[in-house]
Amino acid sequence: MMSLMIEAEGVEQRERVRIEAGGIDLEALLVAWLSEILFRVEAEGWAFGDFQVDEISDTSVSGSGIGERLDPEKHGVKMEIKAATYHMLEVGEKDGHWSAQVIFDV
């Protein structure tokens, strides 16, 4: 999601921002997590290059985004994202790996 909005590779890892989210099931949880990150970027002006999850269950997650203050000159703004949607949303584990498909309204 970050690389849709900015040039995420150019983000320096200077600060850590706590991020928490909850949802009624795993799919809703993923959308809530992404929505929370989107809020931090758009409203609070953060650019994240990496993320860390500390605790996770089927209905809650907490961790942090690692990055710096958003600077359109430095980070090369590409597009705004309106929302993470439930459209064709898939979250699941297969062969020991977790993968997800999320469609963003841009």
Binding site: M5, I6, G23, I24, D25, E27, A28, A32, S35, F39, V41, E42, A43, E44, G45, L70, P72, V77, K78, M79, E80, K82, A83, A84, T85, Y86, H87, L89, I103, D105, V106
Partner: protein
Amino acid sequence: MAVSTRLREIDHFTWEIPMDAQAGMRVPGIIFADRQLLERAENDRALQQVMNVAHLPGIVKASFAMPDIHWGYGFPIGGVAATDLERGVVSPGGVGFDISCGVRLLKTSLVLADVHDRLDALMDEINRLIPKGLGAKGGRIILSRREMEGLLEKGTRELIARGIGWEEDLEVMEEEGSYPGADPSKVSDRAFERGKGQVGSLGSGNHFVEIQEVDEVYGSADQLGLFQGQVVIMIHSGSRGLGHQVCTDYLVVMGKSIARSGYELPDRQLAFAGNQSEEGRDYIAAMACGANFAMANREAMTHWVRDAFEKVFRSGARSLGMELLYDVSHNLAKPEEHQVNGNTVGLMVHRKGATRSFPGRRPEVPKRYAEAGQPVIIPGSMGSNSYVLVGTEEALAKSFGSTCHGAGRAMSRKAAKKQVRGAELVERMREKGILVRSGSISGLVEEAPEAYKDIHEIVEVCEGAGLSRKVARMRPLGVLKG
């Protein structure tokens, strides 16, 4: 593809998906389209969504689709659904993430010869004055929380009181710039935070400010104050992060309720709540705030466009004839009275990627348009024509007074990026005589004309189906994108 054998042709521009096409449908699907547009709609699963919408409790008459239909989140884009105001439901998916994304047209008394040599200067000035794109910085109107609440509750009037915009603009805005029942306490802190730095800013994606020339007029142009060769300005934008967050928030609230009730949704983006339930009322009150925010934003940008013209022409905007024609949404749900089986019924009419298209006699239409009909403003995609239409009696009878909103996408943003080069596109636009200013080149490429359906076909089908009538066609001279 399974749908096509079930589609019933009602007339040249109207198709029906019968109720038994899918278990759970409470009403049929009705699609206004010609064969070509219909095939396109089938290919992108939009018709599946038309059927899903027909599941909504309390839906009345049909799940409608306009000719510019294409797949969306829950509702297709170009979807219209009316639910009984007492017993039916409201669904944020039927409004969209961009609550009250809409469009307005500003008239002038100028013609091409007047602006031709000053187009660069005008575009530069508009580009300078209008904040746009990602990032909360650069907002020109900074409001305190209380002031924001005032804006959300009372609408555009709040900006006019601060000297931004004209009092007379209100008369030609839907709900006179103030959607009733707006309650800021139903808008989350998150939504306030997202919207705070974005008052009067232009969104990215397909939002734009465009200077245009009226290149063809049809009936009723006179009554709307439009003429051939006139320079006009179109502004297409919505409720920005505030609206997006309101939709996100209420999909969660309603999703939780529905999960508790055990009801099975065909699509999570179609979460709903009763129009008269607490959650339903809360959403409607929050949606109204989103609508007020969007309309106020378009008014602020109008103000700065007038400023830009004043600076370049060294003349007052009033003497340049810069009056507002109309401001109309294409992502909104409105409580309206309609005739159903001979009775007057209260309905919540969802129009997502669809525009209200009322005849002049409706009380919602400004008195000055009583004869012509409600103006319908159709933004074209970048580089292509836009239109002004008017609403009709037939639209009331056929689609609860609804028509298209523009040209739907024919190609995904990803596909457009693969096929179109940014610099080449800007050059192509320049060769057509169109100046481009943009916040983002990659965003620009996704908006290439080939990525969209043919607006002429869509407008013709709407007219053929009786949903609206052409009044004027415009061509772009200069475009500002977020």
